[in-house]
């Protein structure tokens, strides 16, 4: 049976949805082990076992978070060697992709990013050219390294119960010798809303909000949605760059994307056109966003959004 290694960076108190998704895919491919960096409490360890992990690999060193990417790739390379895994799965974040990148060179392994599904034979499915093509690709090497986008599968619980064996692997000291060091860290204030990359629903605002994200945020909160923005809105400083959806921001594939006051030029379209359902509200009937919207409203977002928010609150009682 094929062996699969899932990398989970700082699992925290409870496993994240994206980690459960990676474990679900891993189990469909073979015997699953996990490489964990950072503290691992008993609940998280038990959750890994319950989700089918037969072994947990941990680094000999506890300061990998003090460095950018390189030493984590070295740890993962050691864990792959120790586990005999032929497929490695990571998150599709900036860090996940770069750890995968360096791991690939260390192991002479093909790396495929932005994966949305993996067949039992290792074939990876992904979109390219801003969602205009869907492709399948495969690593031609002994080991394959795949970074998987969030929301690609529905997490399933596994039959696993046994407490997994914990194995410590040595991280070579040379790994941190030439690595960039993280010398300062400031936490971002939490918004209380779902994470943009993982959200089921996104309400996004653009130039048309003219500095006022209030109606966008209120509709988002009524729907339990994340708030997104076009580059025009983030460049204007109306909302943080984290909220940017598009070619140079986040690429999202939610169940529902509500676009308000966004023209829908290529920069924006590239980030959201794989959404399942697109709703657009814009004053300008000529906006390109109406070419891709499942439901479009030519109208003023400052009237349409608050009315929709009221109606949702009324229905939800």
């Amino acid at each position: 049976m094929a062996k699969v290694l899932v990398f989970i960076d700082n699992p925290g108190q409870a496993l994240k949805k994206s980690s459960l998704e990676l474990l679900t895919i891993a189990r469909s491919l073979g015997e699953t082990a996990v490489a964990v960096n950072g503290p691992l409490n008993d609940d998280a360890a038990a959750a890994l076992g319950a989700n089918g992990a037969t072994a947990i690999f941990r680094p000999s060193s506890d300061d990998l978070d003090a460095y950018l990417v390189g030493p984590k790739a070295a740890f993962l390379a050691a864990a792959v060697a120790s586990s005999g895994a032929t497929t490695v799965l990571l998150e599709n974040s900036f860090d996940g992709k770069e750890i995968a990148a360096r791991l690939g060179i260390k192991l002479r392994a093909g790396v495929i990013t932005d994966v949305v599904a993996v067949d039992p034979d290792g074939t990876a499915h992904k979109s390219v050219l801003a969602g205009s093509y869907t492709t399948t690709a495969k690593a031609t090497t002994a080991v394959a390294v795949l970074t998987v986008k969030p929301n690609s599968v529905t997490p399933e619980t596994a039959a696993g119960t046994a407490s997994p064996e914990v194995i410590t692997v040595d991280v070579p000291e040379s790994a941190s010798a030439v690595a960039a060091r993280i010398t300062g860290r400031k936490d971002k204030p939490a918004s209380g809303r779902p994470d943009l990359s993982e959200a089921r629903i996104i309400v996004a605002g653009g130039r048309g909000v003219d500095g006022d994200f209030g109606p966008v945020e209120e509709l988002a909160d009524a729907l339990g949605a994340a708030v997104g923005a076009s580059r025009a809105a983030t460049d204007a400083g109306w909302i943080g760059h984290d909220a940017q959806v598009g070619q140079t921001g986040k690429t999202v594939s939610p169940q529902l994307y509500i676009s308000a006051g966004i023209s829908g030029a290529i920069q924006q379209k590239a980030g959201m056109q794989t959404a399942k359902v697109i709703v657009a509200v814009n004053k300008d009937a000529e906006s390109p966003v109406f070419e891709i919207a499942d439901f479009g409203i030519i109208g003023d977002l400052f009237e349409v959004l608050p009315q929709a928010t009221q109606e949702i609150k009324k229905r939800k009682g």
Binding site: R108, V128, T135, V277, I297
Partner: protein, 266 residues
């Protein structure tokens, strides 16, 4: 300071883009300098201008790997302000994945470091065609250099590079000794446009063409043969079609909610 900026000639993202041929490679007609590389070039120019610019012996080398047309990305870079251009061009490079690309670029960087050491290799945060963001990290791994990636602020001081890198949950300050591989985001600066003086000056700047043999890479290490991944199938996604479009007559907010309820999205 000696800075190498990696620039890529990519299909214009504003136009329809296509995959073609039996290996589904990107169609490179209508290509331009990748927009995201302009931020790296601007960052390099700001760093060297603060140190007296080209007159003080600072170098900004625009390095591009690609077919004949890629020279246009180099020419544009020279017009914007790079001091010289290097075109790594070889038929065997066609179809290289990120691993093979990073191998060839690492060899080119070593070649360009032979006469005098390179301080920084600067890149954009991704190419606008491949979009994987793998190459900067793989280049750092192959050159055994620190990587300082996705920088939204950058300074060089006392032989160290100091950058700000934002993630979803925190802002980090990252430091590494030179030389380093640095990628920058589109938040770092406002790239300049080439002006008339720059366009005229570019005509006198040198573009050196390198082949694989010159940088000591065997053709089997790159291209399809040297790649570790292969695209198997590619299908153009059917274009999204417009659905129902209505004009607000005072009740569009309610109609929006009815649509969501019909789609079971509430």
């Amino acid at each position: 300071m000696k800075i190498i900026v990696l620039v890529k000639h990519v299909p214009d993202a504003q136009l329809d883009r296509h995959l073609s041929g039996e290996d589904y490679t990107t169609d490179r007609a209508d290509s331009i300098l990748s927009e995201l590389d302009e931020y790296a070039l601007e960052a390099a120019l700001q760093l060297t201008e603060a140190r007296g610019g080209a007159k003080a012996g600072n170098q900004v080398i625009a390095l591009s790997m690609g077919p004949a047309g890629a020279v246009n990305a180099i020419k544009k870079s020279l017009q914007i302000g790079a001091t010289e251009g290097v075109h790594l061009r070889d038929d065997a490079l066609a179809g290289s994945d990120a691993a093979a690309t990073s191998l060839a670029l690492a060899a080119a960087v070593r070649y360009l470091s032979a006469d005098s050491p390179v301080d920084l290799v600067l890149t954009g945060m991704a190419s606008t065609d491949g979009e994987t963001s793998l190459v900067p990290a793989q280049l750092a791994e192959r050159l055994d250099l620190p990587q300082v990636t996705f920088a939204s602020e950058l300074e060089v001081d006392g032989g160290r590079v100091i950058a700000r890198r934002d993630s979803d949950t925190h802002y980090d300050t990252v430091e590494a000794p030179l030389p380093a591989v640095v990628s920058v985001t589109d938040q770092i600066n406002e790239p300049r446009f080439p002006n008339f003086k720059g366009i005229i000056a570019a005509k006198r700047k040198t573009i050196t063409t390198l082949t694989l043999a010159e940088i000591g890479v065997d053709p089997s290490q790159v291209g399809k043969a040297g790649s570790w991944t292969a695209v198997q199938t590619a299908a153009e996604r059917p274009p999204r079609t417009a659905g129902t479009i209505i004009t607000d007559e005072g009740d569009a907010g309610i109609k929006l909610v009815e649509f969501l309820a019909d789609q079971k999205l509430l």
